[in-house]
Symmetry: C2
Subunit: 258 residues, 2 copies
DNA sequence: CGAGGAATTGAGTAGGTTCAAGGCCGGTGG
DNA sequence: CCACCGGCCTTGAACCTACTCAATTCCTCG
């Protein structure tokens, strides 16, 4: 788990990986491309041309409205893979951009096919990771639809901490959080002003510290209560036994590539 | 397209299907199970045991909050497949329940594998359909985060009409819409009272009729404007040429089942 | 040390909620 | 065929959460 890419650490939550799996996954992350902060990686309307693994930094999927408003859909952190199946679509329906200086490794279509064909365990883990992102999206819908401002803020903070934990980037309950209040607001469906006031509140109540791009949950318990946070949706508990069985069978009978 | 299951009609939007594909997909829908209105199909916490195709009726994914509030995540209509990869997860993080009397066909894990292994075109189409659902979720996030109440209502109505069109269940701009205002509200992150007032408004402005469980868009143009609706996210324009190439190659070199 | 983005604060406003009551419509039983 | 019942829709008035606009202060980085 240590010295490995965040991708490996993340996927290990689904299933123990073989040494070869780890080697292959680490190899994916070798050819990184660097992006400055606040740079678009792909734009709405673009033809998706490749999948990516994010190795360092932070990015987000977002959508701009005609009036200029922005909605951030998901935050992408190290270990996250995106647009794995993008090649099935003609055009992106949203953009992906960096929030800070970020490094990505592109994964070619051919490699994607190869992983799914010849490495069933990795293929399954990638699927799992896609399911996790879907679950995160659903959770965001719940938050935006049915939680008030403090619930939303608390929920997002919890989520970010738990996700960073899952890739080994959180010490205790503290993480690097390089987001501005405008960015938080754009993810939460709120205004920056209101996010500010909510943050004042949770700081005053001694639930968190947030300064110098560093977030610490002081009272994670109570924060989760406010958020209605339940980490089940992150599905970090490992694959169910039957799935392991299926995957092991396929692992022993690899399909050949084309 | 006619006489075929909604599933076939839907997937044909991605790529023309062969006669055999159509036969296989239609065969999936033979063994239907009937569910009464307002019945849970799977509940949060359950172990996912199978994938489903919805063949008749309407259902939704939803989540109940501890205080009793509900958020509807997605509406499922005929032709929609759900929990295709559910077996990779230990527990459902949300529930799925019918809204009206509904018929579903279960798809066993083995069948799912078989489709992906031996029928690449169908496999790709199923992937595409999963990508479409993700896009719909993202769109919901945008709506809840950055659109006002009338925008949300208009957007949902447009979406439902366009989706029903895509399975051949809309005449012109009219569809069956068996949802109560409470259900609409639970999907839109609003209260039923406010949904009611918004609906009054769009009716008064002669943009829609909605009565006797039947919705007609009178001025679809203007409704889309209010909604900021752009159907691109439904990805109904067919697969990109390169993807077709890849899929055709695999179709000629099928992998054997296990 | 200066500049510019980010955070903070205040006051007024608006969009949506809440609570409560009344009306409609479809279905059921006599 | 009519009367009744229950769920759904409709309406009103008061309230409140979050927004808007604008000014000020704080940091960070060059």
């Amino acid at each position: 788990m240590d010295g490995n890419s965040p991708l490996v650490v993340k996927l290990s939550h689904f299933m123990p990986l073989s040494d070869e799996d780890v080697r292959i996954l680490n190899a994916l992350c070798v050819h990184e491309k660097r992006f400055k902060a606040h740079t678009d990686i792909v734009r709405e309307g673009d033809v998706p041309f490749s999948a990516f693994v994010l190795t360092h930094g932070m990015a987000c999927r977002y959508r701009l409205m005609p009036e200029g408003k922005r909605q951030i859909l998901t935050f992408l952190i190290p270990g996250d893979i995106f647009d794995l199946h993008g090649f099935l679509l003609k055009a992106m329906d949203h953009s992906v951009g960096t929030l800070v200086a970020t490094r990505l490794a592109a994964i070619s279509r051919a490699t994607v096919f190869d992983l799914f064909d010849r490495h069933p365990r990795i293929g399954a883990a990638l699927w799992w990771s896609a399911l996790q992102e879907e679950a995160i999206n659903r959770e965001r819908i719940v938050a935006l639809g049915r939680r008030d401002a403090s619930g939303r803020v608390a929920h997002l903070l919890c989520e970010l901490v738990w996700r960073q934990k899952a890739i080994g980037l959180a010490e205790d309950h503290a993480i690097r959080l390089p987001l501005t209040q405008v960015e938080l607001a754009d993810a939460l469906g709120l205004t920056a002003v209101h996010v500010n006031r909510i943050l004042q509140g949770v700081r005053r109540d001694n639930l968190i510290t947030l300064a110098h791009r560093r977030l610490t949950l002081i009272d994670a318990e109570r924060l989760q209560e406010i958020a209605g946070f339940n980490q089940n949706y992150l599905h970090l508990g490992g694959a169910p036994p039957e799935a392991r069985g299926y995957i092991d069978i396929r692992e022993r009978e690899p399909r050949e590539g084309h």
